[in-house]
Symmetry: C2
Subunit: 328 residues, 2 copies
């Protein structure tokens, strides 16, 4: 019988989860829950319902895993502990500094209800975290590097859009190839923020806006741009819509380390993602962990888990025997 999935929140991530569920024949989307007028929300899956979020509790026994597709700033800190009282859940909480606090709140809630909650699932946090952890366990003496991009940073794009005179904008984070090569050499370089990434901005101006002033304002913006080498291109709305409508992302997790009695041998472990669609890939990871959440709950487990706590085999639709025979 298929694993019955619910989606809470139908933005880019929710739509991504819907698409990912369709690619996994052992899963079935039952319902999408929205805070918007549910009549106005059109989904792709004909067999699934769209319901107002208030009705979610009534679906308690008809949904195996509820996937929370809200944002980390305000939605998930409230929703994850709340919905873990009723459902097995998966979220993609990505405010790294607040993960311990989020974990504690969700864990208390899920332990009390006997449900499984998997938090901070996606690629960073998520697959990148896993790769950092495995590489550190294997090579205890070494150095970690994470590079992001080439990809769209929503936060940086928003920051540009808030500047007076800017109509629209898209910002790409780009890893510096020379820094990547220095890391891969095993020399364990110390790299500054500026040495690791550059920022490229495509900006559509309002009529009569001051291009030079806006370029200066972007390049000197504290936290967002002032520590980076930033390039600004002014383009038309048509060009932005045509050439920059995707949400690509990706990056590299690299650890170099030494082994041997005299630490005479060097090793490189590199994990790389190159993603056409950040939300769809994130969703694909989430859906694999929804399978794991369902199985862990079926075994009687409860409480909050992260990618570190879940044995890989739980993610796969194949049996342990099939995995050993085909992938080991």
């Amino acid at each position: 019988m298929a694993i019955k999935i619910g989606i809470l929140g139908y933005g880019n991530l929710g739509r991504g989860v819907e698409c990912a569920v369709r690619q996994n024949p052992d899963m079935e989307l039952k319902a999408v829950f929205t805070r918007r007028d549910s009549g106005s929300v059109k989904i792709l899956t004909e067999s699934a319902r769209v319901c107002p979020v208030e009705e979610a509790p009534q679906w308690k026994d008809q949904i195996d895993v509820m996937i929370l597709c809200g944002g980390s700033a305000t939605d998930l800190p409230e929703q994850s502990p709340e919905y873990a009282k009723l459902f097995n859940i998966v979220d993609s909480f990505d405010t790294h500094a607040k993960i311990p606090e989020h974990f504690a709140q969700v864990d208390a809630s899920a332990k009390a209800s006997g449900k499984v909650a998997v938090i901070s699932v996606g690629w960073d946090p998520g697959m990148f975290s896993l790769n950092r952890m495995y590489a550190n366990a294997i090579l205890p003496e070494g150095k970690d590097y994470t590079f992001w991009g080439k990809g769209v940073s929503q936060g940086h794009s928003d920051a540009i859009r808030r500047i007076k005179g800017v109509k629209d904008a898209r910002q790409y984070t780009i890893p510096v190839e020379a820094a990547l090569e220095a890391v891969r050499s095993g020399s364990e370089p110390e790299l500054t923020t500026r040495q690791k990434h550059t920022r490229e901005c495509f900006v559509v101006l309002e009529d009569g806006a001051d291009a030079a002033g806006i370029e200066e304002e972007i390049k000197t913006m504290p936290n967002y741009f002032s520590d980076y080498d930033t390039t600004v291109h002014f383009i038309s709305q048509e060009e932005l819509d045509r050439d920059h409508k995707g949400i690509p992302h990706g990056g590299f997790v690299i650890r170099t380390g030494k082994t041997g009695w005299e630490k005479e041998n060097r090793h490189l472990i590199e994990y790389r993602l190159q993603l056409d669609s950040n939300p769809e890939f994130t969703s694909s990871v989430i859906v694999a962990y929804a399978r794991a959440a369902f199985r862990l709950a079926s075994e009687g487990q409860s409480g909050c888990k992260t990618v570190f706590d879940i044995a890989p085999a739980y993610l796969s639709s194949r049996t342990a025997e099939e995995l050993r025979a085909s992938m080991l």
Copy 2:
């Protein structure tokens, strides 16, 4: 208290395990067991004993995890089921086709004794397997590729050394850059054996040997070389000893796949290893899984496990809280 480690078999892998244990302060090497005259085996760890393999059973209560460093052809099929009767064990059984059979035998033995046995640990099988599995679970619609090298193939080097007139030889397996690029493009190419890897051989001849004949014999050797583009270099023993004494290896596990309602978005997941020392890296993976074996056994688990069955956090010396705070 440190996890007490035993090593069975003191070749390249056994020495690698000894070095890796030294890099993990929560572990302690207690003894090395050898089939050779134990008085003639010199190890690096002053505090550890060297014992004849017959004495291993007497160490039953003094060793938490016995690491089996024998070969997959004849040693491990006998040793792993046998030693799992007495110890928690880790092995690096790497005959992919025989893993299901090996698993069944070790599982029966470890379940009967209440011990934990982790088999087929290293990088392939091992970390490469994990990456194949994770990537398949995340991107159910896609295609897998594994490339090996640049690295020394012991089996191919041995095959050359068996040719009459060859004094010594070293063979490198090299992935074809154009094939890697074709795979990374997401075009999901079908690649022949010849298109994926080339083979480079460094050969020392006996005095008066027929170079042209030997080159021809290498290049046309069935199974080993005839399906590849092979280059043969004749060099002196001094050159071989000076330039080719290392045992580097590595490779790439790549999966490309599609997501989206119309499968309109492509993604690339790539895991890469570049290793100065194949046996030392393999040993480093094994030692991390020895920690996991100890912990699983401490929780009362038993039976045979593979890398698919073990939650990542078990590999790390850090607590779950530390991992969440520092690596997620």
